[in-house]
Symmetry: C2
Subunit: 272 residues, 2 copies
């Protein structure tokens, strides 16, 4: 077998590890793959860990013991987070985004892979320690963000629907009251979607009253699952009292003045 040069080993390790955050790799699996000694691979892994940290992507954790190995843990510095959220607020505060009714046009952001990957990485880094089994969202606008977060946590995505569909088999359906409009709404989830006793991370693009998040907590109970985290991109300052207590939001929408064409949005104080 040809000797595989260090550059190539490093590049391959980076790709394997960063493609599957949280997945444990046994050192022995690399010695076979590269035909190199364990000590050489250990040096490679040190180099890769260094590069991850310089690129502000995360770090490598060593798991000792017989079943030990290494895994990549996503993380992101305060500085990079502040930079991403600052740029995002600058973009979202542009007055041409104002829509009738005081809404803000956000589709070009929340469907854009470049923005979404940056935002999802912040969520993944924040919620990684919570050992999440599934990311869950409600159709439609939060799906890209939830999917990208699931990818960075190496877990499956679950999409809760508004109506049941024959093509997805038997389902559980609940009614809940939306937090802001007080309307009764329906959530449907295919029975096969979730293993019982799983830990869920609910991700959404927007939170006003928190009714959807509360609905997800109710739905999770029907599946004997627990909502271990709630992450939203934008929360509105009003109502300040949401229907859920413990959630993580990146941006705070303080005020929208249709008349004067002003959007006041800033990174959530906890983020800075």
């Amino acid at each position: 077998m040809d000797k595989i040069p260090r550059n190539e080993r490093i590049a391959t390790l980076m790709k394997l590890l960063s493609d599957s955050p949280g997945k444990i790799f046994i050192l022995g699996s690399f010695t076979g793959m590269f035909g190199s000694a364990k000590s050489t691979i250990s040096e490679d892994i040190d180099i890769v860990g260094n590069i991850f940290s310089k690129l502000d992507l995360g770090f490598i954790e060593t798991i000792p013991g017989a079943l030990g190995g290494i895994r990549f843990i996503p993380s992101v510095s305060k500085g990079r987070t502040a930079d991403i959220l600052g740029r995002l607020c600058g973009e979202l505060a542009k007055k041409e985004r104002l829509l009738p009714g005081g809404f803000i046009y956000m589709l070009d952001i929340i469907y854009n892979p470049e923005w979404i990957n940056d935002i999802a990485y912040i969520f993944a880094a924040h919620f990684f320690p919570k050992t999440i089994d599934y990311v869950v969202t409600v159709e439609t606008k939060g799906i890209p963000l939830a999917f990208a977060t699931a990818r960075y946590l190496s877990v499956p995505l679950i999409i809760v629907r508004r109506n049941s569909e024959a093509a997805d088999g038997a389902s559980v359906s609940i009614n809940y009251v939306s937090g802001s409009s007080k309307k009764i709404q329906t959530m449907v989830l295919s029975l096969r979607s979730l293993r019982r006793n799983s830990r869920l991370l609910f991700i959404d693009d927007f939170m006003k009253g928190g009714g959807t998040a509360k609905g997800i907590i109710e739905l999770a109970k029907e599946f004997e699952c627990e909502v271990a985290g709630i992450g939203v991109l934008v929360e509105t300052a009003e109502p300040s009292k949401k229907l859920v207590e413990d959630y993580f939001s990146l941006l705070l929408l303080e005020r929208v003045d249709e008349e004067k064409k002003i959007i006041e949005i800033r990174p959530h104080p906890d983020m800075m």
Copy 2:
């Protein structure tokens, strides 16, 4: 400035290039970033190109001239494609996936980042030469696949809705006839979503009659845009005549026998 070692330059280049397929990078931007001579960077890029090709991810294209530079083009070998589609068929043919009505449970596949990234990469590699401006899908089940494809093409995603929403501003709505059930359905797209004269790639998880794809072609006309490609994960063998002519499907669902619990699905002959 500290000299940045080759390993680190290579890893950084790999990340930059593969995170933004199709994006042109000027060589001069790297000489500044790394503090290395142009000839050194050229050597680095040769090494990176080699690694991309060994990892079966794609290749680096050199664009000559004053505005020249390099860009990463995603590609995937016939062998890896066959392997992915073969494993996928093995998974989808399991008889426990059969649902009443002859439907096949697929949510655990089409919401799973690992499968979706592999499948989206095949689409991205296939459609890259068509110079796509946007990936478009119709809510809900194709969204993760469409988003991942958009990411690998470095273009925004557009999600066509079933109902309009005040929060997204003025919209264009069309009615179309579904290919299989002959029901009249509605598609809605926010007016701000698309630049005129854009080239769209329509991505969906499933095609039976092709009505949705035809609807997207109609909708695109209203925005003075062109559907430059259609990619679906699974097409049904019947009806063999679809409402659209030119589409690229990965898997062919030949037969579902509820009585005998048989699902016959295989990679599309064109793929092998």
